[in-house]
């Protein structure tokens, strides 16, 4: 089931990877077209998420809705699905972020059932 949902993201033009991870860096589900190590990426992303949550909490204990990191060659978008579970997408800078967000919104509830 989750494979189908992840496919909805991977077919979006410019998206090269979609991964569901735990906040300890463990990979739960993944689909990718790019050539990089999922588990290493998930580990680094988990650090970024930890710092992001820390920063959000400095601004009034706010829950994190999304983290968006932009480099010249890639954008990385991560959003919490439920406690300790996040989705991480990697795309090219020209990818349609609005479309990614829309798919995320449509499928968030189903994705949050991952275990």
């Amino acid at each position: 089931m989750f494979e189908d949902i992840l496919n909805k993201f991977i077919i979006i033009d410019g998206v090269s990877s979609v991964t569901i991870i735990r906040d300890n860096g463990e990979v739960i589900e993944s689909q990718k077209t790019g050539n990089f190590d999922d588990s290493q990426l998930a580990a680094v992303i988990s650090f970024v998420l930890e710092e992001s949550k820390s920063m959000a909490s400095k601004l009034g204990k706010e829950p994190l809705s999304m983290v968006f990191i932009e480099f010249r060659d890639h954008i990385i978008l991560s959003a919490p699905l439920r406690d300790h579970i996040f989705i991480v997408l990697i795309a090219s800078p020209g990818a349609n972020i609005a479309q990614i967000n829309l798919e995320l919104k449509k499928n968030r509830e189903r994705l949050s059932q991952v275990s």
Binding site: F47, A56, F68
Partner: protein, 323 residues
Amino acid sequence: MIKNLPEGISIGEMRASLQWILSHTARFAGLVLVTIQGSRGFILINMGKPLVYYFRHGQNILKGHTAYEYFLSQPFIQFELRKYTALEMTLALGLAASAEGTADQPIPENVTKKGKKDVSGPVDPPAFQDASPETSNPPAGEPGEEDKPSVYEMDSSEYSAFAKGTISYLGLSHNVTLSVEDEDDPALFPHVPLRTIGKLLDSKKTDVGDLILGQIINLPGVLAVTIFRRGLNVLSIGDIDPDNLVDVAEDLINSAKGLSSVMRTGPFIQVTLQIPAGNIIIAPYYDEYVCILTSPGINLGQIRKIIRELPGIETTEETWETF
């Protein structure tokens, strides 16, 4: 003279060269209070255009081009930025002119005889500019100042008299006009018509438009901005506790840097956190980082547009830090 200048509102202290100061004050109107080896001076700046240079060391006073050259010779200047309202800028200019004690008219170099603002060409470091000392409006700090009502408390007739006096004090023609696009600019004082002065003073909106980071803070949805470097807050504007954020922001940037170890990312452009209360954006800004807080209403596309509009930032490999 320095102690008599309007206090303004302090928006930060830092060290930088004169070139840096001038290149970063394109939308700033106010006082740059300079300290060099224990001696003090100032630069009055209106929208990136230095109007007055002054420095005092013991009994020696440097003014105009001499002070400019001295500031330029210093690799770093310790300074404090104090933003001025239009009224404070008027008073400061008047005070500077009175101290000079000449009767020259204060028609700036960048205003044509028709009163139109001439934005073409660079502005040379101006000499110490003078306003007529003949005025009914005494500079700040003189007796009687406290007895007068605040401009915000004046009724229309009182304000009209005050505004006419201000125009007269500045030695400006009552027929001074601005081009249409200039009329929307809140910090073009003193070359503004009466009705614009009234609009500025009555609305108290001058505090918004004349900040050093006005280019960012004035973007739609931006609530606060802070600039930091190596754990130290350099400047901050808006409702933000920078000391609370800077350490965490640096940790976040460092962790984002780690991504380049597992994939070819290219240079870093920005990181944005979305929380229900809004967005937190961190991006390189010259040699520092800028942290921008926005309202929740703006989306990632708009944020990326803000980043692209940051002054001094070009998204080329040469200008971005490569991780």
